[in-house]
């Protein structure tokens, strides 16, 4: 190896001493400055507030806002007590476990003051001063008004307390060291409280406030950078990933076969299915579950705002694929897929099937078949999905037990060529195997 010329320790003793001392000083100042930024003091504990300290109106508003914010989804383990935490959140950096946000004094947030709660929501700092991971979307919650955070606090503090200690996270080194999060926040936590746009109407502004703040829609529907922060600007809402499901773009690059309107978005968000786009599956199911109970005007407002994001989408005329020709061609190219479709899918999805008379979306309008990635189609086939709003909602049975990875690949390829005019998907068998492998893990 070539010896470097920069070798200050080889110079005179005095010079070397100065270099070393200078280096140490710079390091110490750096560490000191970082710890200064990273250090957040603990806030004093309070006694859990009593229910009667909160007006009923505040509690009702808090409940509605918590439903829009979907707190319950991340803060409830599978089959666990609501808000008691323990749900595993898989991230590219390891697995995080959500914490108990019931008012238990020992293991929950029972001793948190309103100030401590607001600091956690806006700065991502726990009552004891430790930094919280941005899986809690405080970058969004910073935009929420004070009074709304008060209402959510009132709602959470009046839930039944549950003793449920937090599970230890399982993160890649060195991310378990929480002060590092101060660096992340320096780079990415700059959002400010929401200010309405005067050139838009009240519904749009209400929708923007809810979607950008508590709803944190772009948390899934925007791509994230290497540090796990959301991309902004023109990349905002250009599509992301959530728990292995593709979260479709909601901006002008929306892959929907038929453009979204505020009405169709409202129907979808409220009922979990829209006749020209598909059904809510994967992580969108719980979102719909929350919104099906939220105030109707708020859901309409969110729909108005989200629809405006793709208003500039080119080619807004509904596509009319020449289905009969496509069907014959798809069957000719992929007879195995066509046969699987006839035996496994046609009973619900073929024209004239009982389900199709109930206003359920035809497959040529289902967004999952229009996406660049086949993940959503494959997940729906293998895992199926439950109706997010109750037994009468949209559901699909799983086919993991009856179809092999090769068969799932054949079927997905057939669906793509018959119901979409977009380029064929590749590596379908691998994608199916990946999903199945995840499924088999406990």
């Amino acid at each position: 190896m070539k010896r470097t010329r920069w070798a200050p320790w080889r110079a005179g003793r005095g010079t070397a001493g100065r270099w070393v001392a200078g280096g140490v000083l710079v390091c110490l100042v750096g560490i000191g400055a970082f710890l200064g930024i990273a250090y957040r003091s603990g806030l004093p504990p309070v006694s859990p507030p009593k229910v009667e300290t909160f007006p009923a109106e505040t509690l009702a508003r808090g409940a509605a806002l918590a439903a829009i914010g979907d707190c319950i989804v991340c803060h409830t383990a599978d089959g666990g007590v609501p808000y008691a935490g323990g749900r595993a959140l898989a991230t590219p950096f390891g697995t995080l476990y959500s914490t108990n946000i019931t008012p238990d004094p020992e293991t929950g947030i029972g001793t948190w003051s309103t100030d401590a709660f607001k600091r956690a929501m806006r700065d991502g700092v726990s009552r004891d001063g430790s930094h919280l991971y941005p899986a809690l979307p405080y970058d969004h919650y910073r935009q929420v008004h004070d009074g709304d955070l008060d209402a959510i606090y009132a709602f959470l503090m009046t839930r039944a307390p549950v003793v449920a200690p937090a599970r230890a996270n399982d993160l890649i080194f060195p991310l378990g060291f929480r002060p590092l999060l101060a660096g992340w926040k320096l780079l990415f936590l700059h959002q400010e409280e929401f200010t309405p746009r005067p050139d838009r109407d009240a519904a749009w502004n209400r929708g923007a406030y809810l979607a950008e703040g508590l709803g944190h829609c772009s948390g899934c529907h925007s791509p994230r950078n290497l540090a796990g922060a959301e991309e902004t600007g023109t990349k905002a809402y250009s599509g992301g990933l959530a728990e292995g499901w593709a979260a479709p773009a909601l901006n002008g690059s929306s892959p929907a076969a038929v453009p979204w309107t505020a009405d169709s978005l409202f129907t979808y968000l409220r009922t979990g299915v829209d006749g020209r786009h598909g059904a809510a599956a994967g992580p969108m199911g719980p979102v719909v579950h929350g919104l099906s109970r939220a105030p109707e005007a708020d859901v309409r407002a969110i729909a108005t705002y989200i629809a405006s994001l793709s208003a500039d989408r080119p080619g807004t005329a509904p596509k009319t694929p020449a289905l009969p020709e496509r069907t014959a061609e798809a069957a000719r190219v992929n007879p195995a897929g066509a046969s699987l479709f006839a035996g496994a899918c046609a009973g619900c999805h073929e024209d004239g099937a009982p389900m199709m008379t109930q206003g359920r979306p035809g497959l040529s309008t289902v967004t999952a078949l229009q996406l660049d990635r086949p993940d959503n189609a494959i997940r729906a086939i293998l895992q199926g999905f439950h109706a997010p709003t109750g037994p009468a909602g949209p559901a699909m049975p799983p086919f993991a037990a009856s179809l092999t990875d090769t068969q799932v690949a054949d079927l997905a390829a057939y669906l793509r060529s018959r119901f979409s005019d977009r380029p064929a998907w590749t590596a379908l068998e691998t994608a199916a195997a990946t999903v199945r492998q995840e499924e088999s893990q406990p």
Binding site: G79, S339, L340, A342, G343, A344, G347, C348, P354, M355, G384, A395, M396, P397, F399, A400, A401, S402, L403, T404, Q407
Partner: protein
């Protein structure tokens, strides 16, 4: 087209359209009438059979997709004269009213017991959720499954199981 099916350990070569639902072939061609046609939509579970040991809706399974794979139906667990453990437990608990869902219920439960011989109540309920009984004998069905678990363990008296 000829499709070879392996059902309850026996091979059958059948001349059939590969898109035909497995359920039709089991009932119409092989005269295995345990599995029933309920909804035809994969929502009730009356048609449940095992494919390679896992419970599946045979009404939504194209027969061509399961050629050469291990298929097991309720007839594979035992006969009227020599019922299997779970079948016996269903009989003892009189878990059937009209009986239409029972073959599917038994096969669904059998898949659980094959994987986990000692499931707790929550596991049994979560596993059985996909199968419906319109007569409402779910409580007896759950009792029959608990009985089979206890019989297999041999450590509890049937009386204890009843609780």
């Amino acid at each position: 087209m000829t499709v070879t099916l392996t059902v309850n350990g026996a091979d059958h070569a059948l001349d059939v359209d590969p898109a035909t639902p497995l359920l039709y072939v089991l009932r119409d061609d092989l005269e295995l009438n345990g599995a029933k046609y309920g909804c035809g939509l994969g929502q009730c579970g009356a048609c449940t059979v095992h494919i390679d040991g896992k419970p599946a809706f045979s009404c939504l399974t194209p027969v061509g997709a399961v050629a050469g794979r291990r298929i097991r139906t309720v007839e594979g667990l035992g006969s009227a004269g020599a019922p299997g453990l779970l079948q016996q437990a269903f009989e003892t608990e009189q878990a059937a009213q009209c009986g239409y869902c029972i073959a599917g219920m038994i096969m669904r439960a059998q898949a659980l017991l094959d994987r986990n011989p000692d499931p707790d109540e929550a596991q049994i309920r979560a596993h059985m959720q996909t199968n419906l009984c319109r007569c409402g004998t779910h409580m007896r069905i759950l009792r029959a499954i608990r009985r089979a678990v206890a019989l297999r363990k041999g450590t509890q008296s049937a009386q204890e199981v009843r609780r």
